[in-house]
Structures are given as C-alpha cells and as structure tokens.
Amino acid sequence: MKSLEAVKVEVAKLEDLPFQTGRVVKLNGREIAVFRLSSGEVRAVENRCPHKGGPLAEGIVSGNYVFCPMHDWKINLADGKVQAPDDGCVITYEVDVKEGKVYISM
C-alpha cells in the first residue's frame, strides 16, 4: 500500500523561501526548484528546463511563471507547461504548506 501513496517530505520553513526567488532541494536523487510566488503560494517543479537543462531555480519569477535563465523559455509553474512559441513540459510536484512548513509530495 505504502508504495502507492505519495510520500510527503518537509523541505523548508516558509521563511527560508524569499519571494519571487527559487531555491533548490535534492530529493531521492531528483533536483527540485521550489518557488514562493508573490501571491504567497509555493510551487515546486523539476529544476531542469526541457530545452537545454537550464536550472529553473535561477530564473526570473513573474506571477505564476518562471523564465529559464539560459535561453529565456517561459514556464508555467502550476502545470509545468512551456509557453508558446516554445513547447514542452517539466514535472511539477504537489506542495502543501502547514504551520509555516513546506512539504513536497513525491
């Protein structure tokens, strides 16, 4: 049963995440970029642009999007979709924030 359930991992305190800036966490060998948006919501996606593997955590965050620092691809942090004219997708992870702690579901 356990293997079917998503595992929740505590990755940070909310206060460790500056607004509009990405931070990196490594979980089970995967590199994940965690963002705290201006709205206060937290998003997590794989830290790798589908184009040339740019580290998304270092991109400029605008609203719900991040711009890859390598070649400026625009990625929706909610569904992982690359925005036109480019296309592609990054893995997104479910995030829960409870009592100032940030959890990612794997």
Binding site: R23, K26, I60
Partner: protein, 806 residues
C-alpha cells in the same frame, strides 16, 4: 462544387512549400493528402546541422507543426511510404496498405544520401547525415564514443564535422580531392577554409581513397587504398545525394537522373508533377533550397490554373553554415579562359572575394571571410548588370554605409525574390504584410510571415525591406517601440512617467502604468530595475528578484549550471602574493579551469554555486563585475612605465579610471582601455570608451566594440590632462546611462543618436559638470557585493541548497 483531390508524396520542404502556395492561391479548392515516410511533421532539413551543432533544438526546426495540417484540413500520413502509383485509375498505394485517389499528384520524394559501397559499410556506427534520425544517432554516439570520421569534404560533410566537434568528438574529415568544397570553391578559398577549420580542431585527410570499413559488429576504423588506417567509432558518409526516383521509375514516369519535368514542373504523365530535389529540369537537378521555392511557386500556380511565367532554372548559390566561417559561392567559381575576374585577397584579415565576369556580366562569385556583399552580387547576376557601367572596385568594396548599398539592392529586388531562404518568404509577401497589417518592426514581420524565424541570417535584409517600405516612418516606428510586450509605452514614456509621478519600485511602475502582465516579464523587470536605479540612485532599493541570475548571484552562469569568478584586478595589474592566493583558492576548490580573460583578468571557471561565497571570502578581492551590465575592466598597455614608445602612463590612468567607476551599472556591459601611445596595445579603439595617450595629451574614443557588432570607436575629443580624461569619461558614461535603452551597447547607441549629437551635448563644460555630479552621487552609494554577501548570513543562505528536514 466537388473539391479536387490533391495528393503530395513527400512531406519535405519542397512539397509542403508548394502546398502552402496552393493554399494561398486557392484555399478551398482542394482536398489534400500528404504522405511522408519520416514520423515527423514538415521540418527544415537545412537546419539539421544547427541541431547537431547544438544551436537549435529539433522542435526549433519544425516548419509546420501538426496543428497546421489540421487547421488546413490536410490529411497527413506519416511513417507511410508510397510504393505504387496507378496512373490509369489515379490511385496511390502505401506499404501500410493505404490507398488514396487523386486528381493531381505531386511527387516531392527528395533525395537519398549516396552511400559508398565499401566492404563493411553495413556495420553499426556507419550512417549518413540526412534526417532527424541520423542527427539523433550522432548525438547519441557522441555520449559513448570519442572518435568520428566524416567521409566527404563537401558542404554537408563539413557541417556534420562541425556539429560533431561541438559534441566534443574528435573529428577527421576524409576527402578524395585536394580541395574542400571543390564544387563551390576555387583552390584559394578552399585552402583558407581548410586552415580555418583546422584552427577549430578538425583534422583533414586529403586525397585519401577509402577502401574498407573495419570492425566486428561496430565500426573501429577505416582503411585507405594507400594501406593507412584511421581509427573511428563513428563514420558519417557525406559524399553526396541522389534524386529519389524509384517510385516514378517503377510506375512508368520518365526518369533520367531525376524525374524529368518541363518548365511547368509537369512529368511525362498527365496530372503528375514533380518538384524539388527529385526533379530534373533542363538537365539540372538542384540540391539547394532557393530553387525548391522557385519551382514550388510556378507549380502552385499551374495546379491552381493561374497564369504563370515558366520556370527557367535557378542561379545556384550556397552558404556554409559553420560558426566562425563565412563562405558564399554562387554560379561559376573557377576561372576559365573566357572569364575575367575582379579579385580582393587580404591574407591578414582572412578575406578573399572573387567575382567572375564574362561578356561584362557577373556569372559567379566566391566570398570567404566577409559575405556581406552576397545579396548585391546575386542581384547583379540575376539582373545581368553590365560591370562596365559601374565602378569596378566598388563591386567588392564593403562600403561603410552597408545599409545604403543594401537598401538599393533590396529596392531593386523583384517581389518574387526569396528573402528568407529557410522559410521561403518572398519580398512580395513581406511588403504585403507590412502594408496590409501595418507592421513596423522585424519582430512583427517574423511573427506574421515567418521570415527570419529560423536561422536569422536574413534579419538585416528583412529590416531593409521594412525600411524601404516605410521610409522615415520606420525610424519613428523604431523609436516608438514599447520596452516589451507587457506595455505599449516606450522607454522615453516610461522614464517620463517615473520622474513625473515619482515612482520608486518596479511593482509601482507596473501598477500605475497599467502593465498587462501583473509582474512583467524577463525583459521589462531588469530594465525597470535599472531605470529606477539610475533615476533615484539614493532612494531606489535594488530589487534582486528583478535581476538576471548573473547579477543576482554576482557570478556568470555557465552552460552546465556552474559559475565563473573574475576578481577585480585594477588596470590588469596584480602581485605575486595575490597570484598565490588565487592559485591556492583555485586548488582548494578544485576549480576546473583558470583562464586569463580578454580584459586582462583571471577567470576561475566551473565553480559550484554553493562555493561562491567561500571563494570570494578567501580571495579577499573585490568583484570584477564580469557578469554585470556595468563597468567591466579597464585594459591597459605597459605605457611610459616600461615601454620605450610609451608617451603616457597608461597603467596609472587605467587604475584611476577603474577605481573611480567600478560597480556602476550601465545599460549594457561597458568595457574600457587605456593605451600609452597610438600603437594602441590595449586595443582602445574597440572599447565602449578607449583612451589613447599621445604626445602632450590624450584622445578619447567611444562606441567601439570587439564583439558581435564589430565597430571601431569614434574620436570623441582630444584633451591635455588626466583630470580632463576623468571628466569626459564620467560625463560620457552618465550621458549613456541616462539615454540608452536597457541592453543597448554604446556601439549601437552612438550610431542611433549620432556622434555629433553626443559631442554637442558634452562640449558644454556646465553640462559635463552636472553629468559628473550625478554619476558621483550614483557612485557614492555603491558597495562591493561580494564582501556584503560574505558578511550577510541571510543572503549567503540563498547560495545553499535547502536541507531536507524530515
């Protein structure tokens, strides 16, 4: 009305291009089906070399995506090969069992790579370079293997070889002739090309005849007829292509070398047409892109029953798509007894240009090192210009005002002429789009017509077409350009509003000025942050989240996600103890590469993000801002301190300038140099601001650039004293800071506003004083970022990964 059934065999560039033309002429007249044996939608085969070279992604080279077929109601059968045509009953059959009927049938089956039938050619690791699959095989092989051989020193072979070099493979090119690209270049150009490619790391085995491919299952090497052997884990055969005519031939359509067509692209069988590389017209088979488009236009009109001029053949011309090498060849390129040549050969600059003339008309050309004349020369060939009527030296002169001569050439072009070779966009299409849709920028044209969407080589040409249509309005349009797509306001308007309403944060600007994206984008956020900083140096708090990664982390991001560190070294001067410290830090943090930069500083490359603050702390040197839109370095020569020619103390001047202006942000990076005498060993002539010592004074040059926009600086002024050098430098920098667009280098800015205008402003001592006053205020609040980060625990944490807490 019943739709006519149109079937296209071959989903490549030529066929689909023709369909596009047909859809434009008669959008509702045909029911269209397309067969392609590759599993992809239509893509730009000529850009495969860019994919291999890592400049483009496979997705970047798709010309028509799946949506396009759907939106145009085209039935697309990919992965299907047409095997039989019943020309009586008007039916085509595929290997997958599909049958389609047709009223009109276009064969655009392209060509096949020519494979040498060497013993061992069937071994694993022996491939052609023709389609996406080959491209993927090569990329895959480069991950596991080291050594590649490319057989064939022609266009395709060299592009493949360059791509493999980019994939970090060792590459040897084998060629049976003495000269590379012998079908496009004369021996002089060919040798220049070989030298250049050797300098890029390619090895050449010339006049070598391959005999046998060695290895068990997978290739291990290649043996030549002279008995020598070259090792290889991968062999690419790029010895040529042959028209793919099997389908036509087996079904009773007349075939010679290609499928024989007349001036309207009709084959020997009624209602069956052929276009592109598979077709043979007046004895010629073309393997280049421009003829495909020209044929497609004629065929489209024919099929739509529109009147059309016959296709009378194309002028063939070629450009090599290899980075750092500009090669162009058109028409005839070898001297012959009845031709005369106009020639320029500058071995110092690596430039060679030759134009062949017969009966006073240009019949061909070879350009190496500088291909900016290619459009003009092609135009002369097409128009059969009489060279006796023009000044011959000017034929090969690269006029300073390239724009002007380019404009004339563009104006002389006919509407059918192709501007964008990648996407087959004609001048007429662009002109029409500008006039009907009111386009006023190259970006608009790109979005609307697809011109310059792929390799971008025609961008300048597109701009010239725009200018020729709009005239003065083009400039007005250019000035009115919004700073990004989040707003309709130009830089000037935004700055005026910021000042008038005293806006002080990026968020405030966007809110008050009605941005259509709440938090802007990666273009406007850094720009606004800069403008606010420049206008309110004491008040505006720098917004880290609006800085591009390099300036946010104070280090240059590299392609693998590591960073590089360049400490400041005033005037390029260091000391033994500083060198030791740098060496120790580099060793301790296992910095993979230590390199001297073009600006005389030391670069530590390949540093991990989390090591940055530690390295800065241990270096104990200020940031060199090598990552910033800011003053970079002040390069110096030895000057009067040591040099027997030096008239001025350039080192001290450089150090003084660097110490005064370090850390100041500018619209784009800002490079400086000081030379002690006109020999100019510090290369002051190609800097944003360069100072040259002369007997009894100094010259100041501005707007120079050694980068993409290669430009010699203009003489701004001559002064007598060191104090005056400082005064003019400060005034120029501040004037540039206040007036250039964010991201605009001085080389573009000086051209845009004009040197005379800048001189007029700066000539006034009172203006210079005020500009210096403002830059001094801006300088007064700056601190060294590395030191600050090292001392501030909170900021330092951003460089660390998040620890997993549970």
């Amino acid at each position: 009305m019943n739709l006519r059934k149109l079937v296209l065999v071959g989903n490549g560039m030529a066929g689909v291009r023709c369909i596009e033309e047909i859809l434009k002429l008669a959008p509702n007249r045909f029911e269209i089906a397309i067969f392609g044996s590759e599993p992809h939608p239509n893509y730009n085969r000529i850009l495969l070399s860019s994919v291999l070279a890592g400049d483009a992604d496979i997705r970047d080279i798709v010309l028509n995506d799946w949506n396009w077929y759907e939106q145009n109601g085209i039935k697309l059968h990919t992965g299907q090969t047409v095997t039989k045509i019943d020309t009586e009953k008007h039916l085509v059959y595929t290997d997958g069992g599909i049958v389609e009927s047709y009223d009109d049938l276009i064969l655009a089956t392209g060509s096949l790579p020519f494979m040498l039938s060497l013993p061992g050619a069937d071994k694993e690791g022996v491939i052609a370079f023709r389609d996406i699959k080959d491209c993927e095989t090569m990329i895959e092989a480069s991950r596991k293997y080291k050594k590649a051989i490319v057989i064939g020193g022609g266009l395709l072979g060299l592009e493949a070889a360059r791509g493999l070099l980019n994939l970090s493979m060792e590459v040897s090119v084998v060629h049976i002739f003495d000269n590379l690209m012998e079908r496009q270049l004369d021996p002089v150009a060919s040798k220049m090309l070989q030298r250049e490619l050797e300098a890029q790391g390619m090895r050449f085995l010339m006049e070598k005849h391959s005999e046998e491919i060695l290895g068990d299952r997978r290739v291990t090497g290649l043996r030549f007829k002279d008995g020598t052997v070259e090792e290889a884990d991968l062999i690419i055969m790029a010895v040529g292509i042959k028209p793919n005519v099997a389908l036509a031939k087996e079904n009773g359509i007349e075939v010679n070398r290609g499928i024989v067509v007349n001036d309207f692209l009709e084959t020997s069988v009624p209602n069956v047409y052929a276009v592109g590389e598979c077709a043979e017209h007046r004895g010629m088979v073309y393997g280049l892109v421009a003829p495909l488009f020209e044929q497609g236009q004629v065929l489209a009109k024919r099929i739509c029953k529109r009147e059309t001029d016959p296709y009378e053949g194309s002028i063939v011309y070629t450009k090599l798509k290899v980075s750092g090498v500009d090669v162009f060849s058109a028409g005839e390129f070898m001297d012959s007894p009845d031709t005369r040549a106009i020639r320029v050969h500058d071995e110092f600059a690596g430039i060679y240009k030759k134009i062949l003339v017969r009966d006073n008309k240009v019949v061909g050309a070879v350009l190496f090192g500088d291909t900016s004349d290619s459009t003009r020369i092609l135009q002369m060939m097409k128009n059969e210009t009489n060279v006796m009527e023009i000044k011959r030296v000017s034929v090969l002169e690269n006029p300073d005002s390239a724009g002007v001569s380019g404009m004339a050439a563009v104006a002389a072009m006919s509407d059918e002429e192709i501007i964008c070779g990648c996407n087959g966009v004609s001048k007429g299409t662009i002109v029409q789009a500008i006039q009907e849709k009111g386009l006023c920028s190259v970006e608009d044209i790109k979005g609307c017509t697809g011109a310059s969407r792929s390799c971008g080589g025609c961008k300048q040409l597109v701009a010239q077409v725009l200018e020729s249509v709009l005239g003065d309005k083009a400039q007005i349009a250019a000035q009115k350009e919004p700073i990004c797509s989040c707003t309709s306001l130009s830089r000037e308007e935004v700055l005026a509003e910021i000042k008038e309403k005293h806006l002080t944060t990026v968020k405030e600007v966007m809110y008050v000025l009605g941005w259509n994206q709440e938090e802007g984008c990666s273009k406007c956020r850094p720009a606004l942050n800069y403008y606010l900083n420049m206008l309110w140096p004491e008040e505006h708090e720098d917004e880290r989240a609006s800085r591009f990664v390099n300036e946010r982390l104070h280090a240059n991001i590299q392609k693998d996600g590591t960073y590089s560190v360049v400490p400041r070294m005033y005037g390029g001067v260091t000391s033994p103890s500083e060198l030791k410290r740098i060496a120790e830090v580099a060793e301790k943090y296992q910095v993979p590469m230590v390199k001297v930069t073009g600006g005389q500083r030391i670069d530590l490359l390949g540093v991990k993000k989390e090591d940055l603050p530690k390295i800065w702390a241990e270096l104990d040197m200020p940031s060199g801002f090598a990552y910033g839109k800011a003053l970079r370095t002040v390069k110096t020569c030895v000057g009067s301190d040591f040099c027997r020619f030096g008239t001025q103390n350039s080192i001290q001047m450089g150090i003084d300038i660097e110490k005064k202006f370090e850390r100041i942000n500018t619209p784009a990076k800002f490079k400086m140099a000081v030379s002690g005498c006109p020999r100019n060993c510090a290369e002051s002539g190609i800097k944003d601001l360069g100072v040259v010592g002369i007997d009894g004074g100094w010259e100041i040059y501005v707007g120079g650039n050694g980068g993409v926009h290669l430009r010699a600086g203009d003489l701004l002024c001559k002064v007598k004293t060191e104090e005056e050098v400082m005064e003019w430098t400060g005034a120029f920098m501040q004037y540039y800071r206040e007036n250039a667009n964010y991201g605009e280098r001085t080389s573009y800015w000086v051209e845009r506003v004009g040197l005379a205008n800048i001189q007029k402003v700066l000539e006034d001592p009172e203006t210079r004083r005020q500009l210096n006053e403002r830059i001094d205020v801006a300088l007064s609040v700056l601190k060294d970022p590395w030191k600050e980060i090292v001392q501030n625990e909170e900021v330092r944490a951003v460089y660390e990964e998040l620890p997993v807490l549970a």
